[in-house]
């Protein structure tokens, strides 16, 4: 009996939580102005893809010229940047995390302590000088400029190290006796063993890059290089009254990451729970 009551309570809470997301999809399929009627409709009487068409393709503007929201370009920018951030992040943090866990070298303990100490620096403190550095280097309004702060991958290194600690030394030493180089050991033995960790870290990095807002907002002023969140925020400042259009924009921004998360949720949840970085 209590089980049923609690299941119902959870169902109600889940329904309330999911409602804004379902409503976002529903409104994105409504014709212009339909969502603003009273009482607000819950689903479209006549579903239409017109908002997505308007958002994704150029169309005749009010003055006769061609206008567009550059959302297709923003989708491409977001996808490429998130993919690049993920590949670069993994390339930098996987070997380092493994080295800090398993290779013997002078200064290891001290460097690790330094990284742990640096982990407390909030990213926002570095933003303003970083902007000036990139401006002088001519990297504002480039992909490289957006990617740069993410390369300081302390969290990734500590995350990989934690997982790599569990690899038995005997296994690595056996490979060394067989004459395998350290690079070969990393690629052939360590990476396959760390596969779940790699997937989890890749997923976290991709999602974080996809959803990042403050830094791309600062590092990009050229509309053609906007990422989805920046483009969406910009459109909402000009076309905020167009609810249906904005919801279509919210769907194309958030649905890809929701699907990615749903497909890889096992890795995500294990990352949240097992990823507690300990000093």
């Amino acid at each position: 009996m209590r089980g049923i009551a609690r299941t119902l309570a959870l169902a109600a809470l889940s329904l309330a939580t999911a409602t804004p997301l379902a409503w976002m999809v529903s409104v994105s399929l409504m014709p212009k102005g339909a969502a603003a009627t009273f009482p607000p409709p819950l689903w479209p009487a006549r579903p239409t893809l017109a908002n997505y068409r308007e958002l994704l393709f150029d169309h005749a503007g009010p003055g006769g010229g061609v206008t567009g929201y550059h959302i297709a370009g923003a989708m491409l920018n977001s996808t490429l940047l998130a993919a690049l951030a993920t590949v670069l992040g993994l390339a930098l943090t996987l070997p380092a995390g493994y080295a800090f866990a398993k290779l013997r070298f002078t200064g290891r303990a001290r460097l690790l302590q330094a990284l742990l100490a640096l982990a407390v620096i909030p990213a926002q403190v570095a933003l303003l000088p970083l902007f000036l550095m990139l401006k002088w280097a001519g990297l504002i309004n480039t992909y490289a400029g957006v990617l740069v702060p993410g390369l300081a991958g302390i969290y990734g290194v500590l995350f990989v190290r934690q997982a790599a600690l569990a690899i038995p030394h005997e296994m690595l030493d056996a490979a060394r006796l067989d004459g395998a180089s350290e690079w070969r050991i990393l690629m052939r033995i360590v990476l396959p063993l760390l596969r779940p960790t790699v997937v989890t870290l890749a997923l976290f990095t991709f999602l974080a890059s996809w959803s990042d807002f403050l830094w791309p907002l600062i590092a990009i002023t050229d509309q053609r290089l906007y990422t989805l969140p920046v483009a969406l925020a910009a459109i909402s400042r000009e076309h905020g009254q167009d609810v249906e259009l904005m919801m279509a924009g919210a769907v194309v921004t958030t649905l890809p990451v929701l699907l990615l998360f749903a497909a890889l949720q096992r890795f995500y949840f294990s990352g949240v729970l097992g990823g507690g970085v300990k000093g």
């Binding site: 209590r2 609690r6 976002m24 603003a36 070997p95 909030p122 403190v125 902007f131 991958g153």
Partner: protein, 295 residues
Amino acid sequence: MRRRSQGHAALAFTVPVLVATFAFLVVPTVAGLLLSATDFDIYALADLRNLRLVGLGNYAALAHDPAFWRAVGNTVLLAALGVPAAIGTSLAAALLLDSATVRWKPVWRLLLFAPYVTTLVATALVWRYVLDTRAGLLNDALLLVGIAPVDWLGDPRTSIPATLIFIVWKAFGYNMLVFVAALATVSPELREAARLDGAGPLARFRHVTLPAIGPALVLASVLSVANFLQVFAEPYVMTHGGPAESTTTILYFMFDQGFTWWNLGTASAVAVVLFIAILALTAVQARLAREQEWL
């Protein structure tokens, strides 16, 4: 020989990320401290010869700037209301998910966690419309129970609670997972024994569950405060810091100073103040973690 080749490999494996961390985190952080002691503005941006050292002048100016204190006050209010609301929601959902008799747990867990992975800017926009006075779902639902429409985001008295509804909705899933994991460590024997001793549900929660998950609760609260200190995109998208600056947070104030007015010296001073606040929180957190090990 083997030791030396390990040393070489370790160098090759660690140097790239260490260099990146130094160049893109350590250098800018130190530069931020220095920048906060200058009057870096749009003229210095054009020509560095216009730059002057002002020492602690930016901090003194901030101390006398009511707009800064307003932002601090708003952020403190967000955290003061938001931490209990967020932790409470996470705990309630976790307690429900923890009971052995509940069915279809993975489904509920997925639905309750989904907002956490959504893109903040996108769902902040969704909530801007959910909280709309006339056509919003929330007022529509409240009307069903006889509550008159509220101008959630347009009234300075409700803009912070309204922003909080969104923040809690977006974030509670994370700590829910953490608390479910902590609850799994509560010994079933102890619970059963308490029940046989005639302890009611509240007494059992107070004397069996709470001691077991207490450390996780405290730690999550501290981390939650740190997250509330860094709220930016929510007011940027939902309210533009308004109405009447009622949702201007510390970070929003910093962004505005830095990138709307190009007062990079002042903005850096704000960043340093934020840094110190977060550092203090980290110290509290480290201390709590140590105390837990003594228990």
